[in-house]
Symmetry: C2
Subunit: 328 residues, 2 copies
DNA sequence: TTGAAAGCGCTACCAA
DNA sequence: TTGGTAGCGCTTTCAA
């Protein structure tokens, strides 16, 4: 302390109006000179709120979550928060650990895409923070949810194929334990129902929503006696796997097989004849999600008696027709 | 406090040997029942070290940094740290802000891919934490560096084209302000020198290492009077842009143009005829980087007099030949 | 084996 | 406009 009191220094650095400009200047120059950097842990201990926001997703290499991470990172940065990123690889124990750490850090909030079967404790901890669910809708309770219209998305994709004359349509989707898996599967069925057609149940494959599973599933579909003439990939990671299988097996798209993907990674446009796909406004979705969370954080906690209904924001996917689908 | 003292509770939860098992059990069950969760800010304030590790990169959607994020996330999780992710979009002010936040949080360490022209203060702050540079080599000083052999990588790629008979080879790379830009450009020149050939200087384009620039640059190269017969993309983001231009312009690869990419995103294999590329062990690199950082963190600070030489780990890229390159 | 108390760096309250 | 001081929740030293 070279001159004045602790409180004066604190106020000067916080740029409070009651401090004279001369004093502010003196304090600041000295602080800079000595390389003083505030201690955020001490501050958050005193004020009671931290500046951390968590993002918990299965995998950032998935274009979906990569885009979400960029969007939330931007939100956090602009609002002066730091983003803690955790990749669970859909491992419920990893997930629990990460969520617990976030609660221990008294994070200001978190955005989470929950794993298919989260631990009971995980859900309890998620509810303890101001949380928002992204894409997957599992927590229940009153956690706000930001996702896409999975049902309509896959229904649209499937109708596109049905209306192109396809009947033997394969489906590669996430497991039923996921809300996304259920809704997308239902959308697939709904498309057949709407056209009064029977669903080819033998061509439906569901499992972990990653490329590895999808590749295996697609290969299986292709090796079956009665091959599909088209396939719907019902997830970003799954789309990658389906395309890998198509490449590896040397399937001629769209002559032998029409394919519709999910999401719109930049390279889909340049894949083979161009991939027909359901584009999702992921960046916008995650940005909206971050905005909502920040507003919750900066608003005082609502009174216990006025309980607003659960917030749900459903963004719509758009069909983008490229060269990978042809009429039959 | 329902029974005993603060210290006893603290020790019980820390599983200290001096506490009786009976007491531990009592404390734990009560803690669980009441949903007690430790306060990491208070702990780190007391102990003087936090459990945060920062990762600062330009963009996580870039396959390169996406893979690095996954690797570091795994390292952090296994060692009980939390990863703070910041995406600077190569904006030096954003970068400074994020680095400062990390220092304010007294982060245990950070891994950073610095922007082309970082603020002076940024570098000072980076040196203040246990930091490691990833890929880009700009901080100087004694910050350890983990990167790839950029020179040799691009030299290999270029030799592959030269030996296939190409002479008019275009080069789309990052600006010279980046270590990676310099080294890769040098590698390009070195390949020509090694074969005793003149470098086609009119086909060299350098700029920001993103898809937007690369697309523009590639389009320019293609519209020139004397077109290249091959092109080298010297960066992950740049590769995406070059491929976009190729798609948009409808260039026939490899008949009209041979192309070599940088990095090996999963979809490169299935792009057009398969993209010939320099594969980089990014995951391994980032994992090694994280391991090194953690070892530094857990080791006591070295004495000022025994100053080890700057740690540099250079991983080698590998040429993967696919269908996008043909002899001329 | 347990308890009392100091102190990490900050902010906010009360006093001057 | 400035100073003194309590206290956030934890760990750790010293004492019992």
């Amino acid at each position: 302390m070279l001159g004045v009191s602790v409180s004066t220094v604190g106020r000067a650095l916080a740029d409070r109006p009651e401090i004279s400009d001369a004093m502010k200047a003196r304090v600041r120059s000295l602080a800079e000179q000595h390389g003083y950097v505030a201690h955020s842990a001490a501050r958050s201990m005193r004020t009671g709120h931290s500046t951390l926001i968590g993002l918990i997703v299965p995998d950032v290499r998935n274009d979906f979550y990569g885009a979400a991470a960029m969007a939330l990172a931007k939100c956090c940065e602009d609002a002066g928060y730091q983003m803690v990123l955790a990749a669970t690889r859909d491992d419920p124990d990893s997930e629990l650990k990460q969520v617990r750490s976030l609660v221990e850090a008294r994070a200001a909030g978190m955005v989470i895409a929950l794993s298919p079967s989260p631990r009971r404790e995980t859900l309890a901890l998620v509810r303890r923070l101001r949380s928002t669910e992204l894409i997957r809708d599992v927590a229940g309770g009153d956690t706000p949810w930001f996702g896409i219209d999975d049902h309509r998305g896959i229904e649209t994709a499937t109708l596109h194929l049905l209306d192109g004359g396809h009947r033997r349509i394969g489906y590669v989707g996430g497991q039923e334990a996921l809300s996304t898996g259920r809704d997308r599967h239902a959308g697939f069925a709904a498309a057949f129902a709407r056209r009064g057609l029977d669903l080819p149940a033998d061509l439906v494959r569901t499992g972990p929503p990653d490329a590895r599973f999808a590749e295996k599933a697609m290969a299986e579909l292709w090796s079956s006696a009665h091959r599909p003439t088209a396939v719907v990939a019902a997830g970003a990671g799954l789309t990658v796997g389906v395309l890998e299988a198509i490449g590896r097996l040397g399937i001629d798209v769209p002559a032998e097989l029409s394919a519709v993907g999910f999401g719109d990674a930049p390279w889909f446009r340049w894949w083979g004849p161009g991939l027909t796909t359901m584009a999702l406004p992921v960046y916008e979705l995650a940005y909206a999600c971050g905005g909502h969370l920040l507003r919750q954080i900066e608003r005082p906690a609502p009174a216990a008696d006025e309980k607003p209904p659960r917030y749900r924001a459903m963004h719509s996917p758009t069909l983008i027709v490229r060269g990978s689908t042809a009429n039959v």
